[in-house]
Symmetry: C2
Subunit: 190 residues, 2 copies
C-alpha cells in the first residue's frame, strides 16, 4: 500500500471481529515498528503480544475502573460514555513498553529524558501504518493505570507501559476524525 494512502486511511478502530491474527502477520507489523528512528539508535521499545483471554479480561476490567476514575476527576462527558469493550473484543493487544534508561543525550538537557518515549511513539506509528497496509484495524489506547498494567504484565519496575495497541479485523469501518489542515498549523520563516 502506498505510504500516503496508509497515512490517510489509518483509523482509530473501536470494534473488532474475533478472527485471529497470525503470528506471521504480527511479526511483520512489529518488524516495521522496530525500523523507527530513536535517539542514539537506542531502540527503547519492547512488545508484549497478548492473545491470552484471561490477561485481556484483566486489562479490560482494570481499564474500566480507570475510566470511571478518569470520569470522576475530569467530569468529561465523553469519558462517561466511552465504551472500552474493544479491549476484550480485539483478538490481539500489543503492549508497548519503553525503557527510560534507553533515552539519548537529552537526559542531560532541561526537560529531557523523554526521547525514549518519542522513539516508542514513532515505532507505534509505524505499527499502525503497517497494520493498515495489511488491512487490519488498530487502536492506540492509553487510558490505563500504569501501576496496574505493570502488575498484570509482571513488568520490570524500571520500564514503562506506554500504550496498549488493539489489533484485529475491524468490525465496522470507522469514520475519519476531522483534521485542521497543515496550512492552519504552519508558519513560514523565509
Amino acid at each position: 500500500m502506498d505510504i500516503f494512502t496508509a497515512i490517510r486511511e489509518r483509523r482509530s478502530c473501536r470494534s473488532f471481529l474475533p478472527d485471529p491474527v497470525s503470528e506471521d502477520v504480527i511479526g511483520k507489523i512489529l518488524e516495521a515498528a522496530v525500523w523507527a528512528p530513536s535517539a542514539a539508535n537506542n531502540q527503547p521499545w519492547e512488545f508484549i503480544v497478548i492473545t491470552d483471554k484471561s490477561v485481556k479480561k484483566d486489562i479490560s476490567s482494570e481499564s474500566e475502573k480507570c475510566r470511571k476514575v478518569l470520569f470522576e476527576k475530569s467530569g468529561w462527558k465523553w469519558v462517561d460514555k466511552y465504551r472500552i469493550n474493544f479491549l476484550e473484543e480485539a483478538p490481539v493487544i500489543i503492549a508497548v513498553i519503553g525503557d527510560p534508561r534507553k533515552t539519548g543525550a537529552d537526559m542531560f538537557l532541561e526537560g529531557g529524558g523523554l526521547a525514549y518515549r518519542d522513539g516508542c511513539a514513532a515505532a507505534i506509528q509505524n505499527l499502525l501504518l503497517a497494520a493498515r497496509a495489511l488491512e487490519l484495524g488498530t487502536l492506540w489506547f492509553t487510558l490505563f493505570d500504569r501501576k496496574t498494567i505493570r502488575r498484570i504484565l509482571n513488568l520490570d519496575p524500571a520500564k514503562e507501559p506506554l500504550a496498549l495497541i488493539c489489533l484485529g479485523k475491524a468490525g465496522a469501518a470507522p469514520a475519519a476524525t476531522p483534521r485542521k489542515s497543515a496550512a492552519e498549523k504552519t508558519v513560514y520563516l523565509r
Copy 2:
C-alpha cells in the same frame, strides 16, 4: 512508495545538498504529518518552516554551544565528535512545536500529561516517511536547549519545541543503523 519500503529505507540524513525544497512539497509532507493520531484528536502539533538563513545560522551556533555542554556533562565521545553542520546545510528546518495543554485525559493519570508529545512524535514519523517517499532526506534533531530555541523562534512560553527536522536532498546516501529484530524485542502471552 510502498509503506514497508518507506519504513525500511528512511534514514537519518546528516548531509544535505543546497537545492531548495518547494513549498508545495513541504505542504504535502506536513499534510501527511497532521494525519497522525493524537489523544482525543487534540492535534497538539504546530510547525515552523525555516528557510531564512540567519535563523538557521542562529539555531546552528546555539546548538553547537549545546553540543559542547552535552559533551562536558556526558563525557560521551560520540557527542564530542558529532558535527552538526547539517543544521546550516539543510535547505529547510521544520521546528515541531507541541502544546502540552492539548494532551488528553491522561492529564489525570499518574505520569500522564505527555500524550501531546506522543501525538507529535507520530506526526514526525509520518513527516519522515512522507519525505522519504518524495526522495528527500530528513534528520530528527533534538540536541538543543529548549529555552534558546524558544527565544530564537519567539515561541509562546506555554508551548514546547520538541524537534528540529532537517529536510532536503541527501548529500550522501546514509547507511542503515542496525536494529535488533522484532523477535528479540517481543514476548507472547498466548
